[in-house]
Symmetry: C2
C-alpha cells in the first residue's frame, strides 16, 4: 500500500506552521512556518488609526498569505507526491472572531472600513470588551448558571459574543454592515472549501453553544440586534470534530499545490488539537503542556464536577465525550521573572563565562540539592490562580528564607511550586472521581528542563510521557484530517498511530516522592489558607497597591 | 570654670575605640580606634592548635595593646590638658569571660597553657557551650523560672556560666588552674585600678546575679567544683553602675598619659552603655539601634511582664530601675542578603555607572513608591525572631509577588518589615503597660538610610530622634566616668548634658501612617499565624532542610 499524507496547519498568535504527516505513523515529512507580517495590531491600524488600550487585532490577509507560503514550502520539503495527500485541516487560536461583508470578504478588505478598528480580526488576547464580558456574566448568573459553571465560574473578555457585542456597542454603524461574524479559523476553512460551515467545537468552547440546546436564548433576548442570528450573521452548518466540512476547491488546490477535492474537516482550537496529537484520547491519561503558563486537559465519557476546571464541554475537545481543561496561570513566566529580576551578577557572570543560560546554570545548581534541602516553599501564583481556586487576584508567596538562602534554592522552590500546582489540579480531578496514571507532556519547558519534568513526576507520583519537539496542534489538525479522509475510523485509532510522543518516560523516584509528600502537605495548607478566604491578604494587598499606584 | 574631660573606651568585637569627652556638653574632643591584632580566633590558637566548630576566642593582650594605643592617640587628638581629665571608663562586649592564674595574669599568658583553647577569652559569640546551656536551661526551668523569664525564656550558649562550666567539662585540669574567672571588661578595669572589683550590672545581665539574692544556688548545688565560688574564682567587690570601682594606678596613668588617681567606674556592657549616651534615662523614651540586627532598650521604675523581652533586669541597665532589652535578629543583615543574592546585573550595572552602592540605588527607587504600592509584605525573620516570639527557628516570608514585581519593590518590603517588627515590639511593651512617645536612634543604618528611618516613624507613629555618628557606647562609658567622678549627681543629669543626639527629628507622616496601619494589621496577622503555632511550616521546613542536607 502506498503512503498517504495529510496536512495540518497550526495558526498561532504570530505565525502559522504547516506540517505534512504520514498517515501510517504520523511522521512529519515536511514543515514550514510563515510569520504574519502585521503580527498583532496593538497601537494602531495599518493606516495609522490609533487603537485604545487592551486592544489586539489581526489582519486576515496575513492568514491567507501564511497559507499560500507555508503549505507549498512544507510540501516541497517533504518531497511527498502531490496526489498522495488526502486531507488538510486547520487549527486556530480562539476566540479570534472577525466580521465579513455581504460579498464574503472580510470587512477590513473594503476601503471604506479599512480605517475602522472593529472591521478587523479580534485576536484571543483582545481584552477591551470588559463591559460586554460583565454583561454576559450578569446574564449567565441569572439565566444560565450551569453555563457559567462549565466555564470556570466566569466569562472572560476573550469570548466570541463579548467581542461581537463590543462592535454593537462601540460602532453600531459598522455592526449593521456585518453580514457574517465567525471565528477566523472558520473563515480560513471556508476559503479552503468554499462551503458555509463552522467548527461546532469552537462554538461550544468559545460561543456558549451546546449540543441539543443551541446558543443560549438570553443573548437574543437581551440584544435585539442579534435576533435570528443563527440564520443571519452566525449562519453556516456547525460541523463536529473530524467530520467533513467540505473539499478543497480547485482554485485553492492549484494555489497550494495539492489535489483538488481532498477532504477538509472543520477547524479546531489549537490547544484542543494538541490533545489527540499527544495521544490523549480516553480516560486514565491527561495532557500537561508546560509553557509560560500550563494547560492540563483530559477527556472522560461522563460529566464530573471538577473544582476550578476552566472549561468542561461535551464534544468540545474530542467528539462524543466530555473535555476538561484546566491549567496554571504561570509556570515558565514565573521562572523567567526570577531569572530577569532576582539573579545577581555573580551568577549571571558565571553563566556567561560557561556559555550557559541563567536557567541552565540555576537548574544545574538546583539539581544538586535534595528535595526539601532548600528549606523553602512557594505558591505558584505569580500570575494568580486560574485552576482550582479560579482567582486572578491571588499572588506569589515564598516562605523559609534565611540569611544563607541562595538564588538557586529560590529557583528550585519556584520550580517545585509548579509541580505542587499541577498535583493540586490532579487531586481536584481525583476528588471528582477522575483518576489518571499517565500524564503526557508537551510545551517548551518539557524539553528544556529535565529537573522540572522529574520533579513533576516525583511530586505527582505519575508516569510521564515525553513528546517530540514538533508543533503538536499542527499534528493534531493532521490527525483530524486523516480521520475525516477515512484513513482511520476514529480519532483514538488515528492518534494511536500518529501521535508525537517521543517514547521517553519519566517515573517517580520513591525517596523523593516521600519527601515531596511532606512538602505538598505544606503547599496545600498554604494554598487553602491564602486561597480559600481564611486570609485574603493577597487580595487586599493588590487592592491597596492599585489605590496607592502613582501616589509615590 | 575650666573644662573637665572624661574618657570612655568601647571594647567592641574587633577593635577598641577611645573617646575624650567634655563633661559640660559631651563634645567629643578626640577619638582613636585600635584594631585587635588577633581579631577573633575561630579556627586555631596563635600556636596553631586547631579549634572545633562554633568556637570564638580572643587574646587578652589585644585589649591591653588597644588601651595603650587608643587612649594616648585620642588624648593627643583632643589637645586637652592631661590634668583636666577626671575619669576613665570601659564598656565591653559580654558575656566575654576569661580565666586568670593565681598570679593575676590571664592563663593564656603562661607558656604551659598557651596551647590550651580554654585558657583564652571566650568571646560573646563563642557558641559551643551547647550542652552547658541546655543543662542551665533545665536547671532554671526547675529551680528558677522567674530567672528564665527575665532572660526571654531561654538561656543562650553565650552566658557567663555556660562558658565556665564548659571549661569544667572539657578541660578539668585547666579548670583547676583557674584562680579567677571574670568578664574581660572587668579584667581591663582591674588593670586600670589594681583593685579586685567587678561590674555588678554585667553580673546581673550575663551571670544570673540578682541584688538581694546573689548568684542562684542551683549552680553551686549542681556543680560541686563551684561551691564557694563567690569567695574564690568569682571573688571581688560587685560595684553598681557609675560607682567608684577604683582609681587609676600610677603605672597605668604613666602609660596612658593621664593623671594618676582619677576615678574609674566598673565596666558596663556595650549595648547598655549606649542607653544614657543616647539620652534615654527614664520612662517615655526608648533606644532603637539599627545595625545588622536591632536593639530596643528602655528603662522603667517598675517591673512589667513584656512579652518576649530578651532581658528584664533590675539595676542591670541603669541603677535602681528596671532595664528592658529587646531586638530583632536581623535588619541590616536582611537588606545585605537581598543586595548580595537578589539584585540583577541590570541594577548593579546602573549602580556602578552612577557610583552608588546597591543600597543607595534600591533605596532611591524604593523611595519613589507610595506605601503599599509594591503590593508586597514581608516578615522580618530571615534570622529568626528573637523579640516577641523568641523563636530562632522562624524564617523569612514574602507575599504578593507578581510577574511585574521589581527588585526595589522587594527591597522596600524588606525595609518595611523591619519597621513592622519594631512596631510589634513597641506594642508588646504597650500591652504590658509601658508607653513611649519618643524613640532615640543609633546604629549604622540610622545614618545611612533615611527612607528606613522615616518608614519606622510612619509605621510606629513615634517621634524619632537622630544621633551623631560617634561611638555611643564609648560616650556612654564617658558619661558613667563623669558621674563616678562627681561631675554630675546622676546619670540622668549627665546624660542630659553629654548625650550624642544630633537634634534631628523625624515625625510620622499622617497619610503614610494611615496606609501602614492597614499593612501592619496584615503583618500582625501573618506574624501570629506563622509565629504562634497556627501553622508551624517554618519550623517544619527548617527541620526537613536539616534532614535532607547533603542528600542531594
Amino acid at each position: 500500500m502506498t503512503d498517504r499524507f495529510v496536512i495540518g496547519i497550526d495558526y498561532g498568535t504570530l505565525s502559522a506552521r504547516a506540517v505534512v504527516c504520514r498517515t501510517s505513523d504520523g511522521a512529519v515529512m515536511g514543515e514550514a512556518e510563515s510569520v504574519y507580517p502585521h503580527a498583532i495590531l496593538y497601537d494602531h491600524l495599518p493606516d495609522g488609526t490609533p487603537l485604545p488600550p487592551e486592544w489586539a487585532l489581526q489582519h486576515p490577509q496575513d492568514y491567507l498569505d501564511a497559507l499560500y507560503t507555508s503549505v507549498p514550502a512544507a510540501m516541497k520539503q517533504s518531497g511527498v507526491p502531490r496526489d498522495s495527500v488526502i486531507g488538510i485541516a486547520v487549527d486556530f487560536t480562539g476566540s479570534t472572531p472577525m466580521p465579513l461583508a455581504s460579498d464574503g470578504q472580510p470587512l477590513c478588505f473594503h476601503a471604506e472600513y479599512a480605517g475602522r478598528p472593529h472591521a478587523y480580526v479580534k485576536l484571543w488576547k483582545h481584552h477591551s470588551a470588559v463591559r460586554e464580558a460583565e454583561e454576559l456574566n450578569e446574564l449567565a448568573r441569572r439565566y444560565a448558571p450551569e453555563l457559567l459553571a462549565s466555564m470556570g465560574g466566569r466569562i472572560s473578555t476573550e469570548v466570541f459574543f463579548a467581542k461581537l457585542i463590543q462592535v454593537l456597542h462601540e460602532d453600531p454603524e459598522l455592526f449593521r454592515a456585518i453580514d457574517q461574524w465567525m471565528e477566523a479559523g472558520d473563515w480560513v476553512t471556508q476559503q479552503l472549501t468554499g462551503e458555509s460551515t463552522r467548527s461546532m467545537a469552537a462554538a461550544i468552547n468559545k460561543g456558549f453553544y451546546r449540543i441539543g440546546i443551541g446558543y443560549p436564548a438570553f443573548i437574543e433576548e437581551t440584544y435585539p440586534e442579534l435576533r435570528g442570528m443563527r440564520n443571519t450573521i452566525l449562519r453556516g452548518e456547525l460541523c463536529p470534530i473530524a467530520s467533513v466540512a467540505g473539499h478543497l476547491t480547485a482554485q485553492m488546490a492549484e494555489r497550494l499545490g495539492l489535489p483538488a477535492g481532498i477532504v477538509v474537516p472543520p477547524m479546531h482550537l489549537d490547544a484542543h488539537a494538541a490533545v489527540p496529537a499527544l495521544g490523549v484520547t480516553g480516560p486514565g491519561h491527561a495532557l500537561y503542556t508546560l509553557g509560560t503558563s500550563t494547560g492540563f486537559m483530559l477527556v472522560q465519557p461522563d460529566f464530573h464536577a471538577v473544582e476550578g476546571a476552566c472549561s468542561i464541554t461535551y464534544s468540545g475537545m474530542l467528539p462524543d465525550c466530555y473535555g476538561y481543561a484546566n491549567g496554571q496561570a504561570s509556570a515558565g513566566d514565573q521562572l523567567a521573572w526570577f531569572v530577569d529580576h532576582c539573579v545577581p551578577a555573580s551568577v549571571s557572570d558565571e553563566a556567561a563565562r560557561r556559555g550557559m543560560s541563567l536557567h541552565q546554570l540555576l537548574t544545574e545548581r538546583a539539581a544538586a540539592l535534595a528535595p526539601g534541602q532548600s528549606g523553602l516553599i512557594a505558591l505558584d501564583w505569580w500570575n494568580g490562580n486560574r485552576s482550582v481556586l479560579q482567582n486572578t487576584g491571588l499572588s506569589g508567596l515564598m516562605v523559609g528564607m534565611t540569611l544563607q538562602t541562595q538564588p538557586h534554592e529560590m529557583y528550585r522552590a519556584l520550580l517545585e511550586s509548579i509541580a505542587f500546582g499541577v498535583r493540586r489540579i490532579i487531586e481536584a480531578h481525583s476528588a471528582a472521581g477522575i483518576e489518571m496514571d499517565t500524564v503526557h507532556l508537551a510545551g517548551g519547558i518539557s524539553y528544556k528542563n529535565p529537573l522540572l519534568v522529574q520533579t513533576v513526576s516525583d511530586v505527582t507520583g505519575k508516569r510521564l510521557l515525553g513528546s517530540k519537539r514538533v508543533s503538536a496542534p499542527a499534528v493534531g489538525a493532521a490527525i483530524l484530517a486523516a480521520v475525516a479522509a477515512g484513513a482511520y475510523k476514529t480519532i483514538a485509532e488515528a492518534a494511536a498511530h500518529m501521535n508525537c510522543l517521543s517514547g521517553q518516560e519519566y517515573h517517580p523516584n520513591a525517596a523523593a516522592s516521600a519527601v515531596y509528600d511532606q512538602l505538598y502537605a505544606e503547599y496545600v495548607r498554604l494554598h487553602d489558607y491564602f486561597g480559600r478566604g481564611e486570609n485574603d491578604v493577597m487580595l487586599r494587598l493588590r487592592r491597596l497597591a492599585a489605590e496607592q499606584s502613582g501616589k509615590g
